[in-house]
């Protein structure tokens, strides 16, 4: 990996079309400005990870798999907070109807 040292306000060029500006350097994060052709997708790496994870999660599981998950979930210590959260959804849905 190429490592370059840059100060705030300085720019890095990639090829002819891509410009990366170090816009602001804070204590634990930097703000980076990116100028790139419109057709080029620019996203934070986490967005790509979440997209891949969503694609892996995009189908409802079969009934036996669901039951296996629930069997492990329900005797657990966290059931109460789940129920209370669920209750608030249901109540809200009723309010609206």
């Amino acid at each position: 990996m190429l490592i370059m040292s840059r100060r705030q306000g300085e720019t890095i060029l990639i090829g002819e079309d891509i410009e990366i500006v170090i816009a602001h350097i804070g204590r634990s994060r930097v703000k980076v400005g990116i100028r790139a052709p419109r057709q080029m997708l620019v996203v934070a790496q986490e967005i790509k990870l979440v997209g891949e994870e969503n694609r892996a999660a995009a189908q409802a599981p079969s009934a036996p798999v669901l039951q296996a998950i629930l069997a492990q979930l329900l005797p657990g210590p966290h059931t109460f907070s789940g129920r209370s959260d669920e209750g608030s959804v249901r109540q809200d849905a009723e309010d609206k109807n």
């Binding site: 979440v50 789940g82 669920e86 959804v89």
Partner: protein, 151 residues
């Protein structure tokens, strides 16, 4: 009452007011904007998010505090704006927002995406999948400890 065809639940009728609206879709599904929360009493507290645009698209979710009772929500300013909340504080789970962890069920085990919870404004039903890298949460948080995993 409108109806929708679904792969998992057959034909279901629903109230328009109960639809979650994701103005920007979800990462990987940017064009899928409308999801219906579906709950089966037999599988509660699991909540399914059924796409109204794509019959086979259905996410399996759990209220985030079922997965991690100490979960702390961190929604970015942009996402707060989409949800219609002021930028100066985090919304309260259960009171102002519904916060759901999306489950990925694989042969190796079930994981919950704590990096990017689905957050729904309980008044307006506007929703985002709030990617929050600063929190350090994993996108593949194991739902159960290794030895307890059955699937």
């Amino acid at each position: 009452m409108p109806e929708t065809e679904t792969t998992n639940f057959g034909t279901i009728s629903f109230a328009r007011e109960s639809v979650f609206e994701f103005p920007h879709g979800l990462p990987g599904f940017e064009e899928r904007r409308k999801f219906l929360p579906v709950q089966n009493p037999l599988t509660a507290p699991i909540l399914f998010l059924q796409s109204l645009d794509e019959p086979s698209l259905c996410f399996t979710t759990l209220p985030i505090w079922v997965v991690d009772p100490h979960y702390r929500l961190h929604v970015t300013e942009q996402d707060l704006e989409i949800l219609g909340f002021p930028a100066d504080r985090q919304p309260r789970i259960g009171d102002e927002v519904l916060c759901l962890a999306v489950l990925a069920i694989r042969k190796t085990g079930t994981t919950a995406n704590l990096l990017a919870p689905v957050v729904v404004n309980l008044k307006t039903y506007q929703a985002v999948q709030a990617v929050s890298p600063e929190t350090g949460y994993s996108h593949q948080h194991p739902l159960f400890s290794q030895e307890a995993t059955a699937c």
